[in-house]
Symmetry: C2
DNA sequence: ACATAATATTCAAAAAATCGAATATGTGAA
DNA sequence: TTCACATATTCGATTTTTTGAATATTATGT
């Protein structure tokens, strides 16, 4: 697991989020569908540029639109994803600071915990051909 | 609200996440602290490149390290943020498809709901100098 | 059919991100 | 001190992203 294809897909999706203008668009769409003209009123960007960002969001399947006469009514394809991601980014978490000592202590704790299943670990390592090249201090 | 400075900061933080190699590093660090050599064994990237990505993650304050002899033991500064973000991206949400009709119906519902507080809305719009340029269908 | 408003696309230039290669730095051991 | 190992930085080349300007497309009303 921890597939590299998955990481690539995730990175692409995250990239679609990673622009101030696109974040503002998503934030706005969270409040409900909007046409491009509505967005022009709110965003400090030209029409063409907004259209370009909408194209990025469409390709990422984050938004889609419903044609309404001359207007294109944009909406979120995955509102929960957008809402939860934006909420998450708004949160702030106290920064952790760790020391080498503390980390070693934790490693030891984890090693002791899996003491009982040691033989299983070893055989798994052997059958998968794992080699430890790096120093273990 | 919906500050453009906030969007810029958020976009920068998200950019730090938005690379397959960096996602793999974060995923790996979720399991516990790792030194660069450990990561070299796992990632399909050269040492210099991994260091470069670690620098990006450090600047975003997503990781930091504790010096342990020759080794640098990298760890997550904000493990909850990383865990929750990765979990979120792993989830999949059914894509919503909406029609112009449905959207109009929803707008009407919302408009009716705020019927009682109409006068407040109008005065707010007037005092903030709001002008509606776009068509309302 | 035509004009118009709303939106999209194309193109070229500028800015930013990525990567490998080479080199530099820092730490502990001998 | 000197060496070796672990990691970081710099530099230049390549690729990707972003943007404005110009232009194209599409739906509607006349």
């Amino acid at each position: 697991m921890a597939d590299s294809r998955q990481q690539k897909a995730t990175a692409e999706l995250l990239k679609a989020f990673s622009h101030p203008t696109r974040l503002s668009i998503l934030q706005e769409l969270l409040a409900g569908p909007r046409c491009v003209t509505d967005m022009e009123e709110i965003l400090p960007a030209r029409q063409a540029n907004i259209s370009q960002h909408l194209a990025v969001l469409r390709h990422a399947r984050l938004v889609d639109y419903a044609q309404d006469g001359v207007l294109k009514c944009y909406y979120l394809c995955r509102p929960k994803l957008v809402k939860d991601l934006l909420t998450l980014m708004g949160r702030d978490e106290p920064m952790v600071i760790r020391t080498a000592k503390e980390i070693k202590a934790e490693k030891k704790r984890l090693a002791d915990m899996s003491e009982s299943s040691r033989s299983i670990e070893i055989s798994a390592a052997v059958t998968s051909g794992v080699k430890r090249r790096s120093r273990v201090r």
